[in-house]
Symmetry: C2
Subunit: 347 residues, 2 copies
DNA sequence: CTGTTAGCGCTTTCAT
DNA sequence: ATGAAAGCGCTAACAG
């Protein structure tokens, strides 16, 4: 009996010999229905394969049970993993997930201009991207709870890693390996030019070097768009310096992958000729032997969702929540060798 | 004026000095409203920031304007890219995207048992996974259009690559490079044991070797779960053979990445000691110099969505649609060298 | 515990 | 071209 969805509550009620009201109560397991009646209604509903109309139910009860996920780059591991974590707890809580993929700045502005999620959701989660002031103003029009997953977003409660701490783990690792000429390949997001995506990842570089008494050489800092191809670009630039770094700290594993490919092509060995460390622990990093600072991504999604649910229940929650990161030492970093034991570090 | 969503059509109508009926017509740009009136209504709606209640509107007009995407592994590039393609055309057509992430077999059976999307969507897209018969039966209960993206699914209209052809491009490439001992690392999905995920990718191996007059050595076939860690496993097994292959064809780039890591650790060089080719053209493949058969993923998503929209409009469409693949030769494959010019190919 | 009665906010005949 | 009125399918008082 295919399009069984033609059956409505009234039918079930009639079949069960009760009023629609009672049937409704039985189905939504509210109080005030005798076990026998409820059982009968449930049995009938089951038998005829009945499901409530969410539109009607939502209209009547003024609820939506839906949350919007606004995601910039769904095809990237990080965002997918975040969505996966968010989704699992939201679904478990009976919420449906409406996905709004804002791949480029055009999608982005369309989303905030038109607010396609208006009146459709109880909350929105902005996944790992900074919300501009005007955008925040627009979002406000929706009048719903907003939280941020995987990126600090002063404006909303958020959960993410402590970028500064993570970056410190990376840079300190290099420092401990006695490197002093440490390059940094930083990432910006082309969709948000002039917006330092992860200020903490930059600041930590300065702070660590300073703490180690090393003066920052601006030439060693390369800022590129996100992505392996640009990581490659950044590395190439560093290699072209008269005095290249002996180690590089990349803002993300994917940047590092690109950097490593340039090194390989230049005939330089990792880690002997160049140490490299990054942040993320991408699923492929173990296979590329990349030393990195791991962050738990699906967990961040789950925590964000839990925070959101608490907020929706009207509970108080922290404005910020940080999850810990952990340095994973693999084969891409090694102790700086002194000049005499060195073999071909300078191109 | 934050929760502006309290305004209803009636308010707009009043403010514009018309009846709700007229206001409704004006907003849904139906016929039968004088330009002047329409303009006035639109102006008011705009000014007070009005949006229709999708629940009420949907209830009244019996429509949903939503499609469900059922996605197995959202954190993997392939699925994310597919979703991105699907989403862009669906959104452009005014549909909202409901995401159902079925990560493991438990999620899966829950999805098909409970059919959480019932009565919520106009269609469902199963993204790159085979639907079992019982599952199809359940899906039927929803009484909506179903299409498959990125994987053939005899049961539903679908768009995907021709696996057999793609695999042939890969294996023939190896054959042309004079390899004769060609290994295959095939992938199965742990969530669907005993289900050959991509039969065409296996069959083509047999067919190509046969066409080349080479007898298939079962020892050269290694079937593993999806993922780099298992690709590594598969490669290790092949390497442990008394007479290992000189080239390997992997079902997917991510399998190949794992395989390559094992080779590197074993001190074997790619491609000198082992050629390796795969299918996908993962965004990182260019940086790992992997020869592979590229498939256009977001395009498949777009095409699937277009096919779905056509179906929803009641048009006829092809039951199957194949997108072309293309061999991308990079550095992981090379001509088989004869024994005498060989250096250390046998562990 | 159960039935009756109003709506929820919008669309859509059917009149005018 | 516009308005009045009757629902769409369900839930939430309010009685009993």
């Amino acid at each position: 009996m295919p399009p069984q969805d033609k059956l409505e509550l009234a039918d079930v009620a009639r079949l069960a010999g009760v009023s629609p009201a009672t049937a409704s109560r039985a189905l939504s397991n509210a109080y005030g229905v005798s076990p026998a009646t409820r059982a009968r209604v449930l049995e009938v509903a089951e038998r005829v394969n009945y499901v409530v109309s969410p539109e009607a139910s939502g209209l009547a009860r003024g609820t939506r049970q839906r949350v919007a996920l606004v995601v910039p780059h769904i095809e990237r591991w990080f965002f997918g993993a975040m969505v996966s974590g968010l989704g699992s707890v939201l679904r478990a809580a009976g919420f449906d997930v409406l996905l709004y993929h804002v791949g480029d700045s055009e999608d982005r502005s369309r989303f905030f201009e038109q607010l396609p999620a208006r009146r459709k959701v109880d909350a929105v989660v902005v996944v790992a991207f900074p919300v501009a002031d005007e955008e925040r103003a627009r979002l406000e029009l929706m009048g719903v709870t907003v939280v941020a997953a995987g990126g600090q977003n002063a404006a909303y409660p958020f959960v993410c890693i402590d970028d500064h701490a993570a970056a410190r783990q990376a840079v300190d690792h290099l420092l401990q390996l006695r490197h002093t000429r440490i390059g940094m390949i930083g990432a910006r997001d082309p969709a948000w030019p002039n917006w330092p995506v992860r200020p903490g990842r930059i600041q930590a570089y300065y702070d660590c070097l300073e703490a180690a008494g090393i003066e920052v050489d601006p030439a060693l800092i390369s800022t590129v768009d996100w992505g392996p191809e640009h990581g490659a670009e950044g590395m190439a630039r560093l290699l072209s310096l008269r005095e290249p770094p002996t180690a590089v700290y990349a803002h993300s594993d994917e940047i590092a992958f690109g950097a490593m490919s340039v090194l390989r092509r230049a005939g330089l060995r990792v880690p002997q000729d160049m140490s490299i460390v990054a942040i993320d622990d991408h699923p492929l990093s173990a296979f590329l032997d990349l030393t990195t600072v791991a962050q738990p991504v699906p967990e961040q999604g789950k925590l964000t969702a839990q925070m959101l649910l608490a907020l929706l229940r009207g509970e108080e929650t922290d404005q910020a929540m940080h999850v810990p990161t952990k340095l994973v030492v693999r084969g891409s970093t090694t102790r700086l060798r002194s000049a005499e034991e060195n073999t071909g570090a300078n191109m």
